[in-house]
């Protein structure tokens, strides 16, 4: 997927897509440079509705930057992004459709980002109340549903400090669900967790994909999850997508020596 998609092309990517299959996220020609360090080097990246994509790659290869650009937390120098048929970014700049498109995207972070001065209920309902102007009862109902989806319904009144790491990440997923996203971006959300707890959190994501049709884009070092639960594996290296294939193809049949040595390094430390 390192196509040198014409930046000069006048057809916008959303229109180009309309004819063929419709991706939930479609990014073309993303470029991001930090101090002459090409972190995203003309990256094309798609995610379909209800698809689980895992992004793997060495530290510093640009995985987080890719998620952050799609999320709008980092501004790229160049590239087009189309979210559910809306062109939200053109030649690196946000378009008028940015807000509408970006509301489809939720994110969960590696560090625990629940607001520690609020309880679980307030963490979940703050944005729906203040941004979507939801009524109190509607917000409460939705909070109960979201917590149930992550298996945390008994914890609605708990303080953040009373939750374990895995519980915090599950509540963070529930908080993202409150805004009804179609895509959740997860940046190493399990890397601070013990393997069984990590598996539980990843299980929540898999279930959301199956039950809610949620698309999930997950940066991870968990090769077992990448191999079994992902629909697609993307291997990133030096700001370029080197492999973009089904887990079977990526791990069993792939001729990419770099991916092989990366997987071996992760497996055998």
């Amino acid at each position: 997927m390192t196509a040198t998609a014409g930046q000069q092309s006048t057809v916008n990517i959303c229109e180009a897509q309309a004819a063929g299959q419709h991706h939930l996220v479609s990014a073309r020609g993303l470029r991001k440079t930090f101090h002459e360090n090409k972190v995203l080097d003309n990256v094309d990246f798609d995610v379909d509705s209800g698809e689980v994509v895992t992004i793997i790659g060495r530290s510093g290869s640009g995985k987080s930057t890719l998620l952050r650009v799609i999320a709008g937390l980092t501004e790229p120098e160049d590239g087009d992004v189309c979210l559910d048929g809306r062109l939200v970014r053109s030649k690196g700049q946000r378009t008028d459709e940015w807000n509408a498109g970006a509301s489809l995207v939720g994110m969960v972070f590696q560090s625990y980002t629940l607001w520690p001065h609020m309880n679980v209920y307030d963490n979940l309902t703050l944005a729906p109340r203040k941004v979507l102007h939801m009524s109190k009862s509607e917000a409460s109902d939705r909070a109960a549903i979201a917590l149930k989806e992550v298996g945390m319904e008994e914890f609605i009144k708990a303080n953040v400090s009373q939750l374990s790491g895995g519980q915090r990440q599950r509540v963070a997923i529930a908080r993202a669900l409150m805004m009804r996203p179609r895509l959740i971006l997860c940046d190493e959300i399990t890397s601070a967790l013990d393997p069984p707890v990590a598996a539980e959190v990843l299980g929540v994501l898999t279930r959301l994909k199956h039950e809610e049709g949620l698309a999930i884009c997950l940066v991870t070092h968990d090769m077992a999850f990448a191999a079994k639960a992902a629909d697609r594996v993307v291997f990133f290296s030096e700001g370029v997508i080197k492999v973009n294939a089904s887990p079977h193809e990526a791990f069993e049949e792939c001729g990419n020596a770099e991916l092989k040595s990366f997987v071996d390094a992760v497996r055998f430390g």
Binding site: A71, G72, L73, N99, A102, S103, V105, G106, M107, F109, Q110, S111, T113, W115, P116, H117, L126, A127, K130, V131, V150, G151, E154, F155, A158, N159, S161, Q162, L163, A172, R175, A176, M178, M179, A199, E200, L202, G203, V204, T206, R207, H210, A224, F225, K228, A229, A230
Partner: protein, 244 residues
């Protein structure tokens, strides 16, 4: 002082006068603290602004007030500013302006370190939930910053309360000014200034106690008790579908 004849009756007699002064002191302190605590928010934000000129202007302001004596600041506003503008500001208002301008500078630095103590990912999580910049400040950043900086803010306020005594030098009839007048007229400096000291102490000391209590508590956070589930059954295990 061996044979000094204490004249507490004099102090008793002038107590109403001293209390009148105390009222001015408290009025000035409260107005200053309230104004400074509000004005320090935009100043702290300016101090962290991305635009360099804004940041430098804020930093310049803060350094000017941190690196010059408060007495000079007070005199400058009372005596020098009218020479510049042609407008004479009454003593109380000059005092209020000078003290507020000064406390705002120190308060802004306290706020800034509070703001910076909030992890950036917490703010980004708010951004991803479409909270506006103002909402991020109001609901995520400011409450945590205030909580974290409470001891610093309280001690700044105690200092300011004591420093209001400086305004007696520009004839604002505060507790210190009235004490000075009574002491000069009665030649009973010992009783009068001791009384004044006790009054300042009685107000500042409880706040100081609270401050150190909060500081001690924040140094050793209590172990959070695990949350009791409403339902005692084993945590409903989520069977990972893809992972085994």
């Amino acid at each position: 002082m061996n044979n000094y004849n204490f004249d507490w009756a004099l102090v008793w007699g002038s107590l109403p006068d001293l209390m009148g002064g105390l009222a001015t002191t408290i009025q000035l302190a409260i107005l200053t603290i309230v104004l400074a605590m509000i004005l320090a928010i935009p100043l702290a934000l300016a101090r962290m602004a991305k635009i360099e000129i804004v940041r430098w202007a804020a930093q310049g302001y803060i350094e000017i007030f941190r690196c010059t004596p408060m007495l000079v600041q007070l005199f400058w506003i009372f005596y020098a500013l009218p020479a510049l503008t042609g407008i004479t500001i009454p003593g109380f208002w000059s005092a209020l302006i000078a003290l507020t301008a000064n406390l705002t500078a120190f308060m802004a630095e306290a706020y800034r370190s509070g703001f910076q103590s909030v992890p950036v990912e917490q703010v980004e999580a708010g951004q991803m939930l479409r909270l506006s910049r103002m909402q991020q400040l109001r609901y995520i950043i400011v409450p945590q910053a205030l909580r974290q900086q409470t001891p610093v803010i309280l001690s700044l306020n105690i200092s300011m309360f004591k420093d209001t005594a400086l305004v007696s030098t520009i004839a604002v009839a505060d507790l210190m000014f009235r004490s000075n007048v009574i002491a000069t007229q009665s030649y009973k400096a010992l009783e009068v200034f001791t009384t004044a000291a006790v009054i300042y102490f009685v107000i500042a000391f409880p706040v100081s106690l609270i401050t150190s209590h909060i500081e001690r508590r924040s140094l050793q956070p209590p172990k959070p008790k695990p949350f009791k589930r409403a339902d005692a059954s084993p945590a409903n295990p989520i069977v990972p579908e893809g992972v085994r």
